[in-house]
């Protein structure tokens, strides 16, 4: 289960977007789901020191703008980064 501390441990949060976002036009339910496995595992990479998680947030924000999404917040763990997006 969750505790209230989950509201205070984001690795990134955009309060301005959170306060101003209006979803009135987001009428369509079904989502588009894109999954890309660049490598089967981290051990396949030539240099595991640099991975997708090495790409900085600003670059992801730029990529997501092309999708018409903005980043509301991010939770990071040892193994992954989970982005919560607009739309």
């Amino acid at each position: 289960t969750i505790s209230i501390k989950e509201l205070t441990n984001h690795s990134y949060i955009d309060h301005q977007l959170s306060a101003t976002l209006d979803s009135t036009e987001a009428f369509e339910g079904p989502e588009k789901l894109l999954e890309i496995w660049f490598y089967p595992t981290i051990s396949n990479m030539k240099d595991p020191a640099k991975t997708l998680r090495s790409i900085n947030v600003e670059k992801w924000v730029h990529i997501l703008k092309l999708v018409q999404c903005e980043v509301l917040s991010i939770k990071s763990t040892k193994m992954m980064d989970a982005f919560l997006l607009s739309e």
Partner: protein, 315 residues
């Protein structure tokens, strides 16, 4: 919408009229520039390890942008980028509720270099997705908040504030998760780590990401509007692992259905093997969801994955 970034893969799930595939060119350019990863083959096509693109058919396809209005246009676009892609239309083509899938052949050159692969994936890499329409109005109402949107667009940005709880959308999202019981879908008997992030949109709508055991996620997206209400649940959490065998994906499905009580739902389940315990149990759930009638049950052998697709309507 949600994005999950692992060291070696991404999962991007986007709602509404987003233009998901328009990120591909820039995504691969940035990956080449930043990481020196170049997946182009001698024909100029991209060959990463594996690509999946899927969606249920839209309720309002004409309102989508550009290629996303039409499945065949999306496939043509994907084929410009990727080598060895193929597409499937799953379910009844004459009904407005089928499901579409595009998948590339696995780049087996990478597997040969990875003898430890099986050791690194002890939980069989499974993904369960439940797509629900016609939500019970009382259930859908839990995801309506009607908070005020502030007109502060010209004020300085407050991005990247760590440890700041002063955020109404996230607070209401948190409350919706608690109230609906969506934080208790899995019996976390193993007491693995649990990270939650949710947001309540205005005038309505809800998105949440949960990360369990640092590496597995489940994500929910809800558009509760009467007339086109919709909810989705997607998870790669290995239920047997986190529940120490006390729970299975049938119980997970029942929990999710109980929260939304949809008129109709379809489920898709990907696993490496048909002998996967969850695959077998889900294939035989008809007697366990007695309020629903099975309309479709389709199994695809996708080379190195097995796909189960089932669609149900309330009796």
């Amino acid at each position: 919408s949600s994005l999950f970034v692992y060291d070696h893969k991404i999962t991007l799930k986007t709602c509404g009229t987003t233009t998901t595939l328009f990120c591909l060119e820039e995504l691969f350019k940035i990956i080449k520039d930043e990481l020196n990863w170049d997946f182009k083959n001698e024909n100029g096509k991209l060959e990463p390890f594996k690509v999946f693109y899927s969606r249920r058919c839209f309720m309002f396809p004409a309102k989508q942008h550009s290629i996303h209005k039409n499945w065949s246009d999306e496939i043509e676009y994907l084929n410009k980028f990727f080598a060895n892609g193929r597409s499937y239309l799953v379910g009844r083509n004459d009904k407005g509720n089928h499901w579409n899938l595009y998948v590339t052949d696995t780049n087996k050159m990478m597997i040969k270099e990875s003898p430890q692969e099986q050791e690194e994936q002890p939980y069989n890499d499974e993904t369960l997705e439940i797509l629900m329409t016609g939500l019970n109005p009382n259930c859908a109402q839990q995801f309506v908040c009607n908070r005020d949107v502030k007109d502060i667009k010209n004020e300085p940005s407050t991005n990247n504030n760590k440890g700041d709880a002063d955020d109404e959308g996230h607070l209401l999202g948190y409350n919706m998760t608690k109230k609906s019981g969506l934080d208790k879908i899995y019996n976390n008997v193993k007491d693995v780590s649990f990270h939650h992030d949710a947001f309540a949109f205005t005038p309505c709508g809800y998105s949440s990401n949960v990360v369990m055991d640092e590496e597995y996620y489940y994500t929910l997206h809800v558009t509760p509007e009467k007339g086109w209400s919709y909810a989705s649940f997607e998870s790669n959490v290995p239920v047997n692992h986190v529940s120490k065998g006390e729970q299975d994906n049938v119980q997970v499905l029942k929990h999710v259905l109980n929260v939304f009580q949809p008129k109709e739902f379809c489920l898709t389940f990907f696993s490496k093997e048909m002998s996967n315990e969850s695959f077998t149990k889900l294939m035989n759930i008809v007697k366990q969801v007695t309020s629903y009638q099975k309309k479709d049950r389709i199994i695809y052998d996708l080379e190195d994955y097995q796909l189960l697709y089932m669609r149900f309507e309330r009796s």
